[in-house]
Amino acid sequence: MMKLIEVENVSKSFDGLNVLDSVSLSVSSGENLSIVGPSGVGKSTLLRLIAGLDDVDSGLINLFTNKISMVFQYSALLNSYTVSENIKLALHAHKISKEEKHQKVIEKLKLVGLEKYQDYFPDQLSGGQRKRVAFARAIVNDPEIILYDEPTAGLDPILSTLIEDYINKLSSEYKVASVVVTHQLSTIRRTSKRVLMLCFGKIVWEGPPDKFLSTDNPYVKQFVNAELEGPILAGLLE
């Protein structure tokens, strides 16, 4: 499998607080990696560094593809643009005709079941619909890898399942790799082939999703069972 992303000893701090401390990982084509961990431990920061939205303090991030997309936690749709215009923005660099662009947009909107909403503005849509539009925007330029920041946060279980199905469909049918930052166990179970737990700037556990739910690692155990006793809460309170 071809390597798409390689993160080597990456560190990042904000205002003297070390958010990531020498983190290393790699993602290959077609792979589904979930990055989990409690709030505020640097999961989204790691995703932003991979996406090139922030600079690393030290270490190296190698991207072996430029066909990379991202689905943001709150969808990040432009409010003054319609649904179809929002998706079309992702095609601005494609040297194809307007009709072809429109066809591509409609095709992706059909995939997420929102073709009727192409002329709506984002604030006329529900949270779940906005998420699906963001998903359509992320896939319209046929990426090799998609970064998801909390893709199912704030959605009901049914919509969460729908989004998880989209992630799986892209992976199985189009061989699109994914890096999913999530808190939700259902998302971990249903979408990942490999799980990586981040805690206090370090990777504390890595392995397949079935082992994630049964390991004795104290961090993972506390996280999975939502226990108050354990190293996570103690560290957060420090």
Binding site: L53, M70, A76, L78, S80, L89, H92
Partner: protein
């Protein structure tokens, strides 16, 4: 000590942001010159500019024209020289009041809205989404706003001068019983092309300041809704300060240069 350190750090951040604003201005200007900006955004912004600001500029400059002319006419009536009312009002409105008032209203009305919009885009990751789609936020967001501001501010300034002068004429007719033709004759005799050009230069600078500062501060916003509020206030305050500073600098340079080239102009 901690307060002093915090204050110094804040001044440093402001300096960095002002430097960043200047860099953004140059880059955005280069995108405008080379036509690399979003035309849709430009049309949206230019129309917003007109609809949002025209009524407020009209009302404010009309009342300033009334009050200014009332004050000047009182003084001139005291010394029995109401004949120079038109010239005094013309000089004040065309050279100073028109550009400054239009600039301040634009900073408050459009600059505030622009800063709040970009700041909201920043805290809701919309600007990050643009970067992911390989869209340059400067050419997509800042350049169209800068162009709209550089075109619309001079137009609104001319409008402000016109409405302010109408207010002045109303007082001249009603309060001083002056003939309107006499008022406008005086206006024409003292206001030359050079005055209009200087007013337009001031307006161009004001428009550039408002758009550049609002967009740059907006793009640097962090901290959710509170951050958006702080950015909006900061951009309006800094834009107004900039307008007053550059208005003084331009007036001063015009007089310094004018004194050398044409002593009659200074009178």
């Amino acid at each position: 000590m901690e307060a002093i350190t915090k204050f110094s750090a804040q001044q440093f951040i402001w300096l960095v942001e002002l430097g960043e604003s200047f860099k953004n201005y140059l880059l955005s200007f280069s995108y405008i010159i080379t036509g690399r900006y979003s035309k849709k955004e430009f049309i949206d912004q230019a129309s917003k500019f007109g609809f949002d600001t025209l009524p407020v500029v009209a009302v404010v400059t009309f009342f300033i024209g009334l009050a200014l002319t009332l004050q000047i006419s009182k003084q001139l009536m005291g010394i029995g020289n109401t004949g120079s009312l038109g010239t005094s009002v013309a000089v004040s409105i065309v050279r100073e009041i028109g550009p400054v008032v239009a600039g301040v209203m634009i900073a408050a009305r459009v600059g505030g809205a622009m800063a709040a919009e970009i700041a909201t885009m920043s805290v809701t990751e919309q600007i990050d989404a643009l970067k992911i789609m390989k869209l340059n936020p400067l050419s997509f967001l800042v350049a169209p706003r800068l162009l709209a501001s550089m075109i619309m501010t001079p137009l609104l300034t001319v409008f402000a001068i016109y409405i302010g002068s109408l207010g002045g004429m109303l007082i001249a007719i009603v309060y001083v019983q002056m003939d309107p033709y006499m008022f406008f004759d005086a206006f024409r005799s003292v206001v030359g092309n050079r005055d209009i050009i200087i007013a337009l230069v001031k307006a161009f600078v004001n428009g550039s300041l408002v758009a550049t500062l609002s967009c740059t501060f907006g793009m640097h916003t962090m901290g959710g809704a509170a951050g958006v509020g702080q950015t909006t206030t900061k951009s309006v305050v800094w834009a107004m300060l900039g307008i007053f500073l550059f208005n003084f600098l331009i007036t001063n340079s015009v007089y310094s240069v004018g004194k050398v080239l044409d002593p009659a102009f200074v009178k």
